[in-house]
Amino acid sequence: MHGMETHLPASIEPDLKPSSGGGRQFVTFSVGRHSFGLPIEDVIEINRSLDITPVPMAPPHVAGVINLRGHILTSIHLAQRLGIPDTGEQKEGILHNVVVGSREEPVSLIVETIGDVCTVPWEQIAPAPERIEGIHRRFVKNVCKLPGRLLVILDTKDFEEPDGEDMRRDLGAP
């Protein structure tokens, strides 16, 4: 796995969707059948599969810890976190880490494929619907209807903070 730590700039292929004045830029990626977006300013960098050290006893969505140039980050299994049924085991080799959050303690989200950076006009950003099939509603901030697909916009803050519920459960566990 050494030498695989290719550092892709977050603003990959910016030309595809040149940022016009009237929109917001999102880094897009997919997990399962869903497309997700995170505000570009929340994304620090994107890395290809780093070695993950599992952390026994951790909440199920914590995939482990990774070394990002000397910083140790918690790696979140995004599919698990969002409640998406786990189908992507065979895609192991091409998983990506999307590093997001604050400079003090960023977290890495494990996703399957990285998409473009899209600029979505403000008027296309809609509030989250009541229900999105297969995803925990509380992580969804907005949705954007793009041609042929629905882009689900996530809120970075939800991933930075551990979940009170998880912690209680873990602490109570024998």
Partner: protein, 901 residues
């Protein structure tokens, strides 16, 4: 404004450093009043403060500095000599200056408190008195120094940016930072009530050599933000990882040039990392330095004479640790001064020098820093500690009586303990030694207390060199690596298949290992971490013996790798709450490994220290009884039985169909042989075991053979002090009864039951031959007395029992039940202990040569040595039947001819 702020900041920082030094200098000055350099240095510091205070318009500060300088100038010019009164006043001035600086730092203003003005008045009056009272004649005397100093002034002020040579009077002139120090002014000018006398002489000499040293300081030292250092250290760690990767690539490419270049890089990187680490290190002297002053003040307040000796001040420690040890050290020094070192008159009575010595010593040892605080005072009186502890309800009177001195002394670390008769203003401020201990332990360190009554006390603190980098043991479990901090590590044990079978016992869900006679609970790391994967029966076992301070346990891991220095990194928010981890670290290959939290693991498997406490509380129900692990089991749920766990070799489950009936005996196939299985109801008046599909068996391995009890249920294993009552039940395979966990529990005599089942089981040819011995057994615990006499009798000897050493001695000296061929004695007994008994026996006419076997529940080498000095021939662990009988046999056969004489 910004610029002025900067200057203020610099001024505060610099003054703080200088003031720290002042404390020490004053104390030195007192010892060595003739030291002009010291006076000059002090003068300089105060002078600088005065000047800058004037520049900023801090009038209170300026006033205090001014009058202090006044007094100092007289000292410098030898108009007056140093004495305690003056030093005290000047130190007070320093304290006030410090307080004002602190206020400036936090609020940007001088404190608005009349007390400071009061002090200025006091100081002024004092200065005046000093000058008039003692030094009127002197004004003209010191031309010489003045001249000398004048020449120095030229270079003087230039170097220190804040050093304002122009004193108080013309403030405006120093707006331009006073760099051009307009020296020669009379100091009192600005002060309303100045002490005119010696004024002219105050030729601003301070500049003399300060410039030189101050100059150097600016050239060789830079202030660096600690965060920057931390970042540098991170980067260096990263560089190491990159280098490792590069080395791998170079290795694959097999290019000699690349390899050579890489090797060189390697060396440099290592060096770089070391150097960066060093930037965080500070000499422990930075903390020690404040103690001369503290000790002086404390000693004075307590009316004691104390000399402080500092050794190893240059010993370096990580700065974050230095911060944390400050308060614990202060507390311990206070303790030494307040409680340790006696008042001079008492010391003289005790034929000690009137002045006590307090040593603060720091040195490196085995990758750790040791700090010792040693006094030659009264030491800690265990008796007083006991009384206090009982008064405070920490221990009961009964416990106090049996508590050894060494343990009693450790009670000072108990929360809520303070021996101060009354709360003095020196110690007893609500911080106890328990806080000291907690703080040090939080750093991964330990505190040890050694005290000898009448000769003094030494507190020894061991702390890691740095918190950021710690030595750790890398272990493997479930395919992952984990780091265990070396401070918790006691030893490593590797068990081969053989040892695994004999020495590891499983009781219910818990495993135990018999480590040199002590029962060590085993914890499997994979279980703690809940890793999946079956418990495959391995042929060997790697045990890491860990200590949580008051308790040891064995952590079973898949493998043990290496010992390594690791860089500790914090846990992320999502995993911080898991008690098993203390942090994360990067391994050489760039992967992350988790650092285990030994306390956390102990807690998660319920090996809590509190349990010990609780057990200690239970202890007073059984005074004098020794604690041991016992195994509780039942046949029918209504009756609970107990046996010493140490006798048990193994617990197992068998199905009813495994039991075969051969020749009227029930046996099962076990470890390759037919093992007899005993049904207890055949030998004891108890309810029979109900028919079950599956039974538990308790396997014993004695006399080189296996034999088992068939039982219905394993209830529990407990560590407790057994107070066995043999009045109700005794004999017929029962040692007695006791209440355990609120139930009456019968303690079984395993040996007797086995010999009833198979009278030939314990047959030892040698014993019958040497047999016919009459043995006196002194043992205070009913349980052990019955157990020991049971198996010694079973081996064919005649046994006379005594309940303690004194009774045994009475039996021997009255000679009613003798003669005896051998004495078996416990060591810890009330009234007369085993050592005293042995000494008495050795001193008697008749039994001078009587073989003596001592039995203890656990024996240390130290005990053995003392025992041998007292004349004990052999030392055995109580429950180790085979060895005890062997010892008896050997001693009897070897000495039988002597007895004839």
């Amino acid at each position: 404004m910004g610029m002025e702020d900067d200057i203020l900041k610099d001024f505060l920082a610099e003054s703080k450093e200088n003031l720290e030094r002042l404390d020490q200098e004053f104390v030195e000055l007192e010892e060595n009043p003739q030291n002009e350099d010291l006076i000059k240095s002090i003068f300089r510091t105060i002078h600088t403060i005065k000047g800058t205070a004037g520049f900023f318009g801090f009038t209170t500060l300026e006033g205090i500095a001014h009058f202090a300088e006044d007094i100092l100038s007289k000292l410098r010019d030898k108009v007056i000599g140093v004495n305690e009164e003056i030093t005290t006043m000047l130190l007070k001035a320093v304290d006030h200056i410090k307080a004002i600086l602190a206020s400036l730092e936090s609020t940007g203003k001088e404190p608005d408190d009349i007390a400071y003005l009061d002090f200025i008045v006091d100081l002024r009056n004092f200065a005046e008195r000093v000058v008039k009272g003692r030094a009127l004649k002197t004004p003209q005397s010191p031309p010489a120094p003045a001249a000398e100093e004048k020449t120095e002034t030229v270079t003087g002020p230039a170097s220190e940016e804040t050093s304002q040579t122009s004193d108080g009077s013309d403030q405006p002139s120093r707006v331009d930072e006073g760099r051009q120090g307009s020296a020669m002014e009379t100091p009192p000018a600005s002060a309303p009530v100045s002490t005119a006398g010696p004024g002219p002489r105050q030729v601003n000499p301070p500049a003399a050599e300060p410039p030189a040293s101050a100059h150097q300081l600016t050239e060789t030292h830079v202030r660096v933000d600690v965060q920057l250092l931390d970042r540098l250290m991170n980067l260096a760690g990263e560089l190491v990882l990159s280098r490792n990767r590069l080395a791998q690539i170079a290795g694959t490419l097999n290019n000699p040039d690349l390899m050579a270049a890489n090797q060189r890089t390697s060396l440099i990187v290592t060096e770089l990392q070391e150097q960066i680490m060093k930037t965080r290190m500070q000499p422990v002297g930075n903390v020690f330095n404040k103690f001369p002053r503290i000790v002086r003040d404390l000693a004075k307040a307590a009316g004691k004479q104390i000399q402080l000796r500092i050794e190893g001040a240059e010993t370096e420690l990580d700065r974050s640790i230095i911060e944390v040890i400050k308060d614990p050290l202060t507390h311990m020094v206070r303790n030494s001064v307040d409680h340790g070192i006696e008042a001079p008159d008492i010391r003289i009575q005790k034929e000690k020098p009137p002045s006590g010595t307090l040593v603060m010593r720091a040195y490196h040892e085995g990758g750790q820093v040791i700090i010792e605080i040693q006094d030659d005072g009264a030491g800690i009186d265990p008796a007083r500690i006991r009384t206090k502890a009982v008064e405070k309800g920490i221990i009961t009177e009964a416990q106090a009586r049996t508590l050894p001195d060494r343990d009693a002394v450790q009670l000072v670390f108990h929360p809520g303990f303070s021996t101060a008769e009354e709360v003095t203003n020196i110690s007893g401020r609500g911080v106890g030694m328990d806080v000291v201990k907690t703080n040090i332990e939080r750093l991964g360190g330990t505190v040890e207390l050694l005290s000898e009554k009448g000769h003094g006390t030494t507190v020894k603190i061991k702390i890691p060199l740095t918190l950021a980098i710690i030595p750790a043991l890398i272990v493997r479990s479930g395919g992952q690596r984990y780091a265990i901090p070396q401070v918790n590590l006691v030893e490593l044990v590797h068990l081969g298949r053989e040892a695994l079978e004999w020495d590891v016992q499983t009781i219910g869900g818990s495993e135990f290992y018999r480590l040199r006679g002590e029962i060590l609970p085993l914890v499997r790391l994979e279980d703690v971490l809940g890793s999946p994967g079956g418990r495959d029966r391995r042929d060997d076992l790697s045990i890491v013996v860990l200590s949580t301070g008051d308790r040891q346990f064995g952590l079973v891991v898949d493998g043990i790798s290496d010992s390594e220095e690791i860089v500790v990194k914090p846990l992320g928010k999502h995993i911080k709450h898991i008690p098993c981890y203390a942090g994360t670290t990067l391994m050489g290959d760039g992967r992350v490994a988790l650092i285990l939290d030994v306390m956390g693991i102990a807690a998660s498997v319920n090996l809590k220290g509190e349990e010990r406490l609780r057990e200690a509380e239970e202890k007073d129900t059984a005074v004098g009884e020794e604690r041991q692990f016992i195994l509780l089991f039942s046949l029918d749920p209504a009756e609970v039985f107990a046996i010493p766990l140490a006798l048990v070799n193994r617990l197992d489950k068998i199905s009813a169909s495994q039991i075969e009936n051969i020749g009227g005996q029930e046996v099962i196939q076990y470890r390759g042989t037919s093992m007899p299985v005993i049904r207890l109801e055949h030998h004891l008046p108890i309810r029979p075991i109900p028919e079950m599909e599956e039974y538990h068996i308790v396997v014993f391995h004695m006399n080189k053979r296996d034999i088992a009890f068939l039982v219905g249920r394993i209830e529990d294993s407990l560590n407790l002090a057994v107070d066995v009552d043999d009045r109700v039940y005794k004999g017929g395979g029962i040692l007695g009864s006791a209440i355990v966990k609120d139930r009456t529990t019968l303690f079984l005599d395993v040996y007797q039951i086995i010999s009833r089942h198979d009278p030939g089981f314990f047959a030892m040819p040698a014993i019958t031959e040497a047999g016919r011995g009459r043995i006196l057994l002194a043992e205070d615990s009913t349980f052990y007395r019955n157990l020991l006499s049971s198996y010694v009798e079973a081996a064919g000897y005649e046994v006379v029992t005594a309940e303690d050493g004194l009774e045994a001695w009475e039996i021997i000296s009255e000679d009613t039940k003798g003669p005896f061929d051998l004495l078996v004695t416990d060591i810890d007994m009330p009234r007369m202990n085993g050592l005293e008994l042995a000494a008495k026996v050795r001193g008697s006419e008749r039994y001078r040569d009587l073989p003596i076997v001592a039995v203890t529940s656990l024996s240390s080498d130290d005990d053995k040595r003392r025992g041998i000095q007292a004349g004990i021939n052999d030392y055995q662990v109580k429950l180790d039947r085979d060895h005890i009988l062997g010892a008896i046999r050997d001693l009897l056969s070897g000495l039988s001819y002597k007895e004839a004489a």
